[in-house]
């Protein structure tokens, strides 16, 4: 495998509170290669968005990176001063968030916002920056970009706004794009268009994409590899086909069979009983053990690390040799 573009090792994100320290992300490691789309899935509270925030250096205090390292093209970025991180963000890492309305400033035209971002990161004249902005809008599929560039965000529909947000994230041709639920606020027909756009960007620009979502359908259509998170920990990671069709971790199998699918006549859906533990009450051993149908003694005593299981890696004692 080529040198990874993003490498995360033993990442731990903590929130100190009055009632003790909450560990929101715990001992998480993964790599993303250039041109690769890594899907990160999990239920709400699994720590997937916080992982994204830690990578782009936007953890809200008191949240902090307590251990581990994050490397972008070999360079450590987890302990950089705020000013240095601000220069990397936008230039080398682009971020796309769920809600396209709150990611744009309603008081400026989208052209002003694009030009400002381009001038911050690239050395060009205002004229050139405007041409570049029009080019970007065309690239993300906005019709008549030379006219739309002077519109305000409220002139655009939800899907078009998300395209503008993607154009903003692409301004400086970042090497890594962190996309947190980019299609969740959109209707299915628009969602398909945005997925296609992300895929095209990874393919054509060789950018690495970290796609955070709770929607397995979006992952199946977009990602090359997928990481499944549970209670702040990595449950399973591997090629998207294997994780979806032949998962090894009992949580992944439960998750996959609980998704309703078209064209299957099942009366009842398979369900995982119970709910993900709160961060204040993560059980000892494997975090999934109270809900796991295959639990045995070791699971309640010792925490598993990711172990090779077929073509994927699963943090489950079933695969210990």
């Amino acid at each position: 495998m080529a040198e990874p573009l993003l490498s995360v090792r033993n990442l731990r994100v903590e929130f100190p509170t009055r009632h003790g320290t909450l560990i929101a992300v715990d001992d998480l490691s993964f790599d993303i290669a250039p041109g690769e789309i890594l899907g990160v899935v999990g239920e709400s509270g699994a720590g997937k968005s916080l992982t994204g925030m830690a990578i782009i250096g936007l953890l809200e205090p008191p949240g902090r990176i307590a251990a581990g390292e994050i490397r972008l093209e070999g360079e450590r970025i987890d302990a950089l001063p705020a000013e240095a991180m601000r220069r990397i963000r936008g230039k080398r890492i682009g971020a796309i968030f769920q809600d396209p309305l709150t990611s744009l400033n309603p008081l400026f035209t989208i052209g002003e916002q694009l030009v400002e971002t381009i001038l911050t990161h690239l050395d060009m004249s205002e004229r050139q920056a405007r041409d570049r902005a029009i080019e970007l809008l065309a690239e993300v599929g906005i019709p008549a970009p030379e006219l739309r560039i002077d519109n305000y965000p409220h002139h655009f529909s939800g899907g078009m706004r998300q395209r503008v947000v993607i154009a903003l994230a692409l301004c400086a041709r970042p090497r890594l794009i962190v996309a947190d639920e980019p299609t969740t606020a959109l209707d299915v027909s628009i969602q398909a268009q945005i997925i296609e756009l992300l895929r095209k960007l990874a393919r054509e620009n060789g950018a690495a994409v970290m796609l955070i979502t709770h929607d397995m359908g979006v992952i199946a259509e977009t990602a090359d590899r997928v990481a499944v998170m549970y209670a702040g920990r990595l449950a399973e990671i591997g090629p998207v086909k294997e994780v979806i069709h032949a998962p090894h971790h009992p949580y992944t199998s439960g998750l996959m069979s609980s998704i309703p699918k078209l064209g299957e006549g099942r009366e009842t859906l398979a369900q995982i009983d119970g709910a993900m533990p709160r961060l204040t009450a993560i059980p000892p051993g494997c975090a999934f053990n109270p809900r796991c149908p295959k639990r045995f003694d070791r699971c309640t005593a010792e925490r598993p690390s990711p172990l090779p299981a077929g073509t994927t890696e699963a943090a489950c004692w079933l695969y210990a040799r």
Partner: protein, 332 residues
């Protein structure tokens, strides 16, 4: 009307006044403006079935749900429940036989009330419990029925997870012994593993209590799982109604086909997907003729000029499309 019809909507419209304030209209000479959120919708729901309404945001599906339970009054048309027009004040007692479950289990439960009071409210409001003892017993029974413990009644909503809160909403909805439940996106705010629990619970309750559901959702895979029949809405109009199995296997209306095509393919079968073009137009200025014509690959002059009426096809299906009626779109 069929004998087993529980609820029928006949040519129902709902308009909202979206005019600017009076002074602005006076000074700027602007006319009143109205938005037609629901436009000539007719369908019926049979006893014991689950009718699902699907469509993208702004298509009017939630407005239909709210009109049925009486949160909005229709601007035109009739809503008939058990043979009685719901606009008639004499039919008010029928209201207790229908209840609603809302999308957001965080916003739809009063945070300052204990769960037992939330669940008991409809029973008290309808005067259905003879004394406090019977009330407590009924609340405990309801909580057990939805998979919670009777002791949970003493807790507050914030002590529960999203899935458990939705169970509380269902217990509240069931407390007045309704036979008809209107469920507006009941699982959209939940995680998939929890969604499966709630969908299974709803199916189980339907079988045990003989409930009829109107199920509103934008998630077609969920709809395919729960629905007996499906109605597809676009820009306030009902474009296709069919049995769930037929609709997903052989969609007829071009919009239904587009929606089904756009579902992300989790099976990764590599089935070719038709790229979806365009977006839903503004309901303030709907296109003339068929509302779908600007995005439709089969649109011709007639589609742009004349609004298609719903016409019946074999198998209890109805479609509002000129191209289907004229056989310009081959059946799958």
């Amino acid at each position: 009307m069929r004998a087993d019809t529980l609820l029928e909507l006949a040519d129902v419209d709902r308009e909202f006044d979206v005019s600017r304030p009076w002074l602005n209209r006076l000074l700027e000479g602007e006319p009143r403006r109205s938005l037609r959120a629901v436009d000539g919708v007719s369908f019926s729901i049979r006893r014991g079935e689950t009718l699902a309404l699907v469509g993208e945001s702004g298509c009017g599906k939630s407005t239909v749900a709210r009109m049925i339970v009486g949160l909005y009054a229709p601007s035109r048309g009739r809503i008939v429940f058990e043979g009685a027009d719901l606009a008639d004040p004499a039919s008010a007692p029928l209201r207790r036989r229908m209840q609603m479950i809302f999308q957001d289990p965080y916003a739809s439960l009063n945070p300052r009330w204990r769960v037992r009071d939330i669940v008991a409210e409809p029973i008290v409001a309808h005067g259905m419990a003879p004394d406090a003892h019977a009330l407590a017993a009924r609340v405990a029974e309801l909580l057990t029925q939805v998979g919670l413990a009777p002791e949970d009644g003493g807790k507050f909503p914030h002590e529960f997870s999203g899935g458990q809160r939705q169970r509380i909403s269902i217990a509240r909805a069931l407390s007045s012994n309704p036979e008809f439940l209107v469920c507006d996106e009941p699982t959209s705010a939940l995680d998939v593993s929890v969604q499966a629990q709630i969908l299974n619970l709803m199916k189980d309750l339907q079988q045990r209590l003989g409930l009829t559901y109107l199920f509103i959702s934008h998630n077609l895979a969920v709809v395919a799982h729960v629905a007996t029949r499906v109605g597809v809405m676009y820009l306030g109009r009902l474009v296709e109604v069919a049995d769930a199995k037929d609709l997903f296997e052989r969609p007829r209306h071009p919009y239904t086909r587009m929606l089904i095509d756009a579902i992300p393919d989790i099976e990764m079968s590599g089935r070719p997907r038709t790229p979806v073009a365009g977006e839903v137009p503004s309901p303030l200025a709907p296109p003339s003729g068929c509302a779908f014509n600007p995005r439709c690959p089969h649109a011709n002059d007639r589609c742009r000029a004349e609004r298609p009426a719903s016409h019946a096809l074999p198998g209890g299906r109805s479609v509002a499309c000129h191209a289907v009626e004229e056989d310009r779109i081959p059946d799958l």
